[in-house]
């Protein structure tokens, strides 16, 4: 068994209103003038666990991301990294 650590980012789908992102945009505008400002707000997760190999670890991360971390109706997830780590 090896130990893995996965980092996942969850964002709103491009065609769904990102209300927190809009609010952040207004807040940034009130502090500094920036051209072409766009903001997105999402969540960052870190999950570490033991698995036989990278393939199996990826399967687990995908399942966790799909079942718990994101709601596919409105969100997408991206596995930023999945690395083997020391125990």
């Amino acid at each position: 068994m090896k130990k893995f650590c996965g980092k996942i980012i969850v964002k709103m789908k491009p065609d769904v209103k990102d209300i927190k992102g809009e609010a952040l945009k207004q807040a940034v505008k009130s502090v500094v003038e920036l051209h072409d400002l766009q903001c997105a707000v999402g969540n960052w997760y870190q999950i570490s666990f033991c698995a036989k190999n990278q393939v199996e670890a990826l399967k687990f991360i995908d399942k966790i991301a799909q079942d718990i971390l994101s709601n596919e109706v409105i969100e997408t997830y991206e596995i930023k990294s999945l690395e083997e780590i020391d125990e």
């Binding site: 709103m12 209103k17 209300i19 927190k20 809009e22 969540n43 079942d67 718990i68 109706v73 409105i74």
Partner: protein
């Protein structure tokens, strides 16, 4: 006519279960609480998922509640299921109802008694939510049960509640259980429960 048997699911963080029970008592219905970790085993005429902040709304409203044994054992299609506010969010998260509830368009909590279009009339029901903004791709218009007269939270088509008649599942953001009593000057919640009773 025998008394209606109602199961009210309670999660850690639910806070409308007593209001819901009081409403059932008022209507002469027999209600009892079902704990989140228990599988639903008794036969009920109606199962209610009440409002609140189940699991602290961690990750997202209803996201963790949907994984509970109680929700996983809901008798779909056999028993009428009603989700109110957080309950509606949980039903959408579980894919038992289409669409999803996201943050209100003004990003704040909305608490007010407001006008709702229901069964061809305007009724007054309280709203109290942070994520009540209903969004859905390809909404089936026949499933729209109630809409906001003033669309305070920015929902698609001002949808406040939907009814999947085939699977006997209703979800709504307004709180009918808080609008049952003359003492509070709000009684239109009775109309909502009467409708549900007729559908059972």
């Amino acid at each position: 006519m025998s008394k209606l048997k109602v199961g009210i699911i309670v999660f850690l963080g639910t806070n409308c279960e007593y209001d819901t029970k009081r409403a059932c008592d008022f209507l002469g219905w027999n209600s009892e609480f079902v704990w989140q970790n228990d599988k639903i085993q008794k036969k009920y005429d109606l199962i209610i998922l009440p409002g609140g902040f189940s699991y602290g709304d961690y990750i997202s409203s209803g996201r963790i509640a949907k994984l509970s044994p109680a929700v996983k054992s809901l008798p779909i299609g056999k028993t009428m299921i009603l989700g109110i506010c957080n309950g509606f969010q949980t039903l959408c998260e579980s894919k038992l109802l289409p669409g999803a509830l996201i943050d209100n368009k003004n990003i704040d909590f909305i608490s007010k008694v407001t006008e709702i279009n229901f069964q061809n009339e305007l009724i007054s029901l309280p709203l109290a939510h942070h994520q009540g903004n209903y969004t859905c791709k390809n909404i089936d218009k026949s499933q729209i049960l109630m809409t906001y007269q003033n669309n305070e939270n920015g929902s698609d088509f001002a949808i406040a509640g939907i009814y999947d008649k085939k699977n006997k599942i209703i979800g709504m953001m307004p709180h009918p259980e808080r609008a049952m009593y003359e003492e509070l000057g709000l009684t239109d919640g009775r109309k909502v429960f009467k409708f549900i009773q007729n559908e059972i």
